[in-house]
């Protein structure tokens, strides 16, 4: 069974302070919060490029492995 279901959405360390290293920035230290934002942005930009590339590769593979059969696959057209 997946143990993710037991995890709270925001892990809490002590006294209500989030344990997540990004979430702990409440904005009272603007520089640190902004740097955290930059880091999140950088990771996400690289992450989305990687994820979309993997999706793309998987999709190309699918299309190559299962080419449409001539006159046998009307589902190929738009629904």
């Amino acid at each position: 069974m997946n143990d993710n279901t037991d995890q709270p959405s925001q892990p809490v360390a002590v006294q209500g302070v989030p344990a997540n290293r990004f979430l702990k920035h409440d904005g009272t230290e603007p520089g640190a919060a902004f740097r955290a934002g930059l880091e999140i942005s950088g990771i996400c930009v690289i992450g989305i490029a990687i994820v979309l590339t993997i999706y793309y590769t998987g999709l190309r593979l699918l299309v190559a492995l299962f080419p449409p059969k001539p006159d046998a696959d009307p589902a190929a057209h738009d629904h």
């Binding site: 996400c44 999706y55 999709l59 299962f66 738009d78």
Partner: protein
């Protein structure tokens, strides 16, 4: 005869509460008269109206709106159910025919980070104004994806759930107003006249159609397991659609489930628009940053297409980059309309719709990444 009974019946509210009632009425007017995302703005307006009348028992310990909030928002169930409906409505065939279209879903998400950093920049003027979680939730308005915005806001910015949801859905309906000036600013008339020659008549086997959602679920499970909560329901909905063996479920997901949950979601979000949390300076900034996120999204998409044109022999019409916004199908329609304004015979609808569908995937991937990083 004593007038005490009047005191029992009437509860006099504050100006702020009546201001929220006015905002509820404004949302109803925008939905009914102006046709701005009426499916969402009408229930949101009605929820706001019912929740803000002083003494209203629609909210509170036993109020039905509070009950709906507990059941559908606190548990994060409503946005997830909406994704099943969206998945059942989306036709990914166009992306399967031209897989490279998938990449147009990425750049428009840059607006998310622009808005997030601007929100964090406010802390330099007023320390503690927005936490990182709140700024990320504000940025996600730029995903142009209501359920993702609500889901992320519920996780990291519960206080600002209402303005974030209202901004996300309002700006989606304003895409035909927001996008054209940005596109015109960044493209020349000559670029907007570019005709695209792509083979969107290519056939894709039914096997690929069915395996695509399964593949995305598997890859998400391997790469971003914490994002499964967004990707899984979307792809489940699509699997219902393409599998061909559960037409009843597919139709239910597209209609009954989607409609009922949209009504409940809207009502519940509207009910969270309470004077004490909504009438704050942060709300104005959230609405402003949401708009900026949409503008950045559009600009990033156009600039991405222009960048690709530096290397391509057959040039792309850079406007299709703007269609990579998740607002489906408005962005694609806007881009097609602009293309025809420049050249009545120019049909770029198919690649624009492809980019638009890719935007759906891109926005959810960014939502998954943010959830994975912050939770």
């Amino acid at each position: 005869m004593s007038l005490n009974f009047l005191q029992d019946l009437l509860v006099i509210g504050t100006i702020r509460e009546y201001a929220m009632v006015a905002i509820g009425l404004l949302l109803l007017w925008l939905a009914i008269k102006k046709d701005y995302e009426p499916l969402l703005l009408l229930p949101i307006g009605a929820g706001c109206l019912m929740a803000n009348f002083p003494g209203s028992n629609a909210v509170g310990e036993h109020g039905f709106l509070t009950l709906l909030y507990r059941v559908g928002i606190e548990t994060e169930l409503f946005p997830i159910l909406i994704f099943i409906g969206i998945g059942a409505m989306i036709d990914f065939a166009i992306v399967l025919k031209q897989p490279v279209t998938l990449f147009f879903g990425g750049p428009p998400c840059l607006g998310i980070f622009g808005a997030m950093l601007m929100a964090l920049g406010v802390n330099y003027f007023k320390p503690g104004f927005f936490s990182v979680g709140e700024a990320a939730s504000i940025g996600i308005i730029g995903a142009a994806d209501g359920p993702t915005s609500i889901y992320v806001a519920k996780m990291f910015a519960t206080n600002w759930l209402a303005p974030i949801a209202v901004a996300a859905y309002s700006y989606m309906s304003l895409v035909p107003i927001i996008q054209p000036p940005v596109i015109r600013l960044l493209t020349s008339s000559r670029e907007r006249k570019i005709r695209m020659e792509s083979d969107y008549n290519a056939q894709v086997s039914k096997t690929v159609m069915i395996l695509f959602p399964v593949l995305i679920i598997v890859l998400t499970g391997l790469l971003l397991p914490k994002g499964m909560v967004l990707v899984g329901p979307l792809m489940l909905g699509n699997l219902l659609r393409v599998s061909g063996c559960v037409d009843r479920l597919s139709k239910s997901a597209q209609n009954e489930i989607s409609n009922v949950v949209t009504l409940f979601l809207g009502l519940t979000v509207g009910a969270t628009m309470r004077a004490d949390t909504f009438l704050q300076p942060q709300t104005i900034l959230i609405l402003a940053f949401g708009l900026i996120a949409f503008i950045f999204d559009t600009a990033a998409g156009v600039l991405f297409a222009k960048f690709l044109n530096l290397f391509l022999r057959h040039k792309l019409n850079p406007m299709i980059g703007a269609a990579g916004l998740s607002a489906f199908p408005m962005s694609a329609r806007v881009v097609q309309k602009m293309a025809q304004q420049e050249d009545p015979g120019n049909i770029i609808l198919m690649p624009a719709v492809g980019a638009n569908v890719a935007g759906q995937i891109g926005s959810i991937v960014v939502g998954c990444l943010i959830i994975s990083l912050l939770s």
